[in-house]
C-alpha cells in the first residue's frame, strides 16, 4: 500500500523502470497484463504509462506523484520537479553527428562560426550546446527519424540520443562530439515529495543500489 501514483515511460527504459519499481516492492506485474490500458491499479498503487517526454509533465503538475524518466528529457525540458535518484540504468549519450562523408566539412563550418543546420528532437539541448561553444545554429525540431534529415539535405548534422550507436552506423553517421550522458532518474512532484514523504522515502530506500553511495 504505497498510495502513490507512478508515471512509467513507454519505450527504451520501460523494462528498466519496471525492474527498479518492482525491486522496491511495487506491484508492477499489473503493467504486463494488458498492453492497451493507460492507468493500472494494484494494492493501492496507481501506474500511468506515457511517452517518456510526457512523464515530467504529469509529475510537475501533480497528476503523478513520482515518475521514472531519462536525464536527457529532464535536461531538455527543465521541469520544476525534485530529482531524487539515479537508477544507473538506461545509459545513453547525447551526441552531435554528421554523415561520414561530410563530417570534416561540418566540423570546419562550426569552427569558422558558419551557420549550420541541426535536426533534433532536443531543440533546447542543441541550442544550449552551440551557445556554450560560442556558436549559433539553425535548430530544426523534428519528432522522429532524426537520422533521415542529413541524408536528404534537411540538415547538415543532428543532435540525438544514442545507446549503442547502431542506428548511426546503419545510416553512415559519425559522432562529432559527445554533449552529455544520461541515465534513468526517479523524479517527484514538489508537493507530493513533502506531503507523501514517508511513502516516497520508503520507495527510494528500497530502490537504492547497494554500495553506490558508500564512499
Amino acid at each position: 500500500m504505497s498510495g502513490l501514483r507512478v508515471a512509467v515511460p513507454k519505450g527504451a527504459i520501460f523494462e528498466d523502470a519496471l525492474r527498479a519499481l518492482g525491486g522496491a516492492g511495487l506491484p508492477v506485474g499489473v503493467l504486463r497484463e494488458n498492453g492497451r490500458r493507460l492507468v493500472y491499479e494494484a494494492n493501492g498503487t496507481e501506474f500511468i504509462v506515457s511517452r517518456p517526454s510526457d512523464v515530467p509533465v504529469f509529475v510537475e503538475y501533480g497528476a503523478a506523484d513520482v515518475g521514472v524518466v531519462g536525464k536527457d528529457v529532464l535536461e531538455e525540458q527543465e521541469p520544476n520537479v525534485v530529482e531524487l535518484r539515479d537508477l544507473g540504468t538506461g545509459a545513453c549519450r547525447m551526441i552531435l553527428a554528421a554523415p561520414a562523408a561530410e563530417a570534416a566539412e561540418v566540423e570546419e563550418a562550426i569552427e569558422r562560426a558558419e551557420i549550420v543546420r541541426v535536426a533534433t528532437k532536443f531543440p533546447r539541448t542543441a541550442r544550449r550546446y552551440f551557445e556554450n561553444r560560442g556558436r549559433q545554429a539553425e535548430v530544426i525540431a523534428l519528432h522522429g527519424s532524426i537520422e533521415l534529415a542529413p541524408l536528404v539535405g534537411l540538415a547538415e548534422c543532428i543532435v540525438d540520443l544514442t545507446a549503442t550507436g547502431t542506428t548511426l552506423r546503419e545510416n553512415d553517421l559519425v559522432v562529432l562530439d559527445e554533449i552529455s550522458s544520461s541515465t534513468a532518474r526517479v523524479i517527484a512532484n514538489r508537493g507530493a515529495y513533502r506531503l507523501k514523504n514517508p511513502e516516497i522515502s520508503v520507495l527510494l530506500k528500497a530502490m537504492q543500489p547497494e554500495g553506490i553511495l558508500g564512499g
Binding site: G62, E83, R85, G191, R194, N197
Partner: protein
C-alpha cells in the same frame, strides 16, 4: 473588397475574463483574507503596476516580466511580484515612521507565461510583509497568519494542506564552513532540486562531510516531532560552523512560537528547501495542498533586500496565489438571491420591501414566461423566483425547472430565501 479585417478581440494569451461564479469566489476569498490580515494588525497598501526595471534585481523575475518604455526611454516593467515593490515602498516612503512596518496587499501581478504550460500571465496575490524586525517571532507570526487564513477559508491541516518550512542559511552555512569550494555548485544543484547532482558532488568530499552534504537536504518530516532537527544537528556535529548552528537555533525558536500559536501540526520541516528567490536569507516556506502539484503560497525572510534601496532593515513575509487557493477550497453554496419578475410599480415596491427585510433581490422588469424566468434565474445563480400576486401575496418558486410555487406573504419570503 468585402474581406473582413482580422481583429484580435480575445483576451491576450495567459489572461482571461473572470466571470461569476468564479469571480465571486475570488473576490469573497480576497475579502476574507483581508479581514484576517487586519486581525493581525496589517495595513493594506497599493503600489503602481509599473515599476522601473532597476527596482527588480532577481534575474528570473526580470526575465519573466512584461517590459515597456516610458517617455524618457527608461525600461519599465509590470510588477511580477509584490515583495520587491513593498521593500522599495518601505525604504522610500515610510522612512519617517518607526519600524517594524506591517503591510499587506491584494493585487494582480504579471508574468510572461509559457504557452502550453497552463500558466497565467496575470494572477492575483494577497500577502503580508513585516519590514524592520529580525525576530523569529515575526517569522512564526506570519506563518501562523497564513495557517489562520487557510483554516478560515475552510481548509484543514494536515489533511488538506501543509506549510513546508526550511532555513536557507542552514545548508548554505554548513557548506560555506565545511566544504567552501564545492558550496556554489552544491547550492546551484539544490536550487535546481537536483538531489542526484548533490549526491554526485558529495562523493568528492571527505567521508563525514560527504554524508552530511548528501543527507541534510533530504531531511523531511513533521515539525511536531523533533527528529528532523535532531538528525540535522547530528549530521552537522562539530563540522557545522556558527552560521548553520544559528540557523538551526532560529528554526527551533520559530517552532516554539508556532507551538504557542497552536499551529505546529500544520508544519513540515524540509532542510532541503532553500526558497525559489535569491533574496531569501533565513526561514523559507511553501504551502502545498493535497491534490494540487503547485504551491498555494510561499514566503520567507529576506534580510538583505532593503539594502538595495538604501535601508538596512530585516524583513519577512508571504504571498498567497488566490486563483490556486480558490481551486482547492471546499465547494460553497451560492449566496442567496431572489429574482422578482415584473415591470409594474407594484413589483418595484415589493422589491424594495423585500430588500429592507434583508433579502437580496434582482428585479427583472420584463414579463417572462415561467420557463424563461427559471432559465434566467439559473443563469445568475439565483435559487428563487417570485411574482407579485395581489396586494398581500407573492408566488415563490425555486428556480429548478419544474418546481411548484407557494403563496407567501412578503414577510414570509426572508424565512424561505435566507434559510
Amino acid at each position: 473588397m468585402d474581406r473582413l479585417p482580422t481583429r484580435k478581440f480575445t483576451t491576450t494569451p495567459g489572461t482571461r475574463d473572470i466571470l461569476p461564479p468564479e469571480s465571486t469566489r475570488l473576490l469573497d476569498a480576497q475579502d476574507r483574507v483581508r479581514e484576517r490580515f487586519r486581525m493581525f494588525g496589517f495595513r493594506e497598501v497599493v503600489t503602481p503596476a509599473l515599476e522601473y526595471a532597476e527596482v527588480l534585481e532577481e534575474p528570473k523575475l526580470r526575465d519573466t516580466s512584461f517590459k515597456l518604455f516610458d517617455p524618457d526611454n527608461q525600461t519599465l516593467l509590470l510588477r511580477p511580484e509584490m515583495t520587491t515593490p513593498i521593500a522599495r515602498l518601505a525604504a522610500q516612503s515610510l522612512a519617517g515612521s518607526p519600524p517594524p512596518y506591517r503591510l499587506s496587499y491584494s493585487l494582480p501581478v504579471y508574468r510572461r507565461a509559457s504557452v502550453g504550460r497552463g500558466q497565467s500571465a496575470e494572477f492575483h496575490q494577497a500577502g503580508v510583509e513585516v519590514v524592520g524586525s529580525g525576530s523569529p517571532a515575526e517569522d512564526a507570526g506570519t506563518i501562523a497568519l497564513l495557517v489562520d487564513v487557510l483554516q478560515t477559508l475552510g481548509l484543514r491541516a494536515p489533511e488538506d494542506f501543509a506549510v513546508v518550512l526550511g532555513q536557507s542559511a542552514f545548508y548554505g552555512g554548513f557548506l560555506r564552513h565545511a566544504a567552501p569550494e564545492a558550496a556554489p555548485r552544491l547550492l546551484a544543484a539544490l536550487a535546481a532540486k537536483d538531489l542526484v547532482r548533490v549526491d554526485e558532488l558529495s562523493r568528492g568530499l571527505p567521508k563525514r562531510i560527504g554524508a552530511a552534504v548528501r543527507e541534510m537536504p533530504r531531511l523531511v518530516g513533521p515539525a511536531a516531532d523533533g527528529s528532523v532537527l535532531d538528525e540535522a544537528a547530528r549530521y552537522a556535529g562539530d563540522l557545522a560552523g556558527g552560521e548553520a548552528v544559528a540557523a538551526l537555533e532560529n528554526l527551533r525558536e520559530i517552532l516554539a512560537h508556532l507551538d504557542a500559536h497552536g499551529c505546529l501540526g500544520a508544519a513540515i520541516l524540509d532542510l532541503g528547501l532553500i526558497g525559489r528567490r535569491d533574496y531569501y536569507t533565513g526561514a523559507v516556506y511553501e504551502v502545498y495542498a493535497s491534490g494540487l502539484g503547485f504551491t498555494v503560497a510561499n514566503g520567507g525572510r529576506y534580510d538583505n533586500l532593503l539594502r538595495r534601496f538604501g535601508k538596512d532593515l530585516p524583513a519577512t513575509g508571504f504571498a498567497i496565489s488566490l486563483e490556486r487557493l480558490i481551486s482547492v477550497l471546499p465547494h460553497e453554496e451560492a449566496a442567496p438571491l431572489l429574482v422578482l419578475v415584473g415591470a409594474s410599480v407594484e413589483a418595484t415596491r415589493t422589491a424594495n420591501e423585500l430588500r429592507s427585510s434583508g433579502v437580496p433581490v434582482l428585479q427583472l422588469a420584463e414579463d417572462l414566461t415561467p420557463e424563461d424566468a427559471s432559465r434566467y434565474a439559473r443563469s445568475v445563480d439565483a435559487a428563487w423566483i417570485c411574482y407579485p400576486a395581489g396586494p398581500d401575496g407573492l408566488k415563490l418558486v425555486p428556480s429548478e425547472a419544474g418546481s411548484e410555487f407557494v403563496l407567501v406573504s412578503p414577510e414570509g419570503v426572508a424565512g424561505e430565501v435566507l434559510r
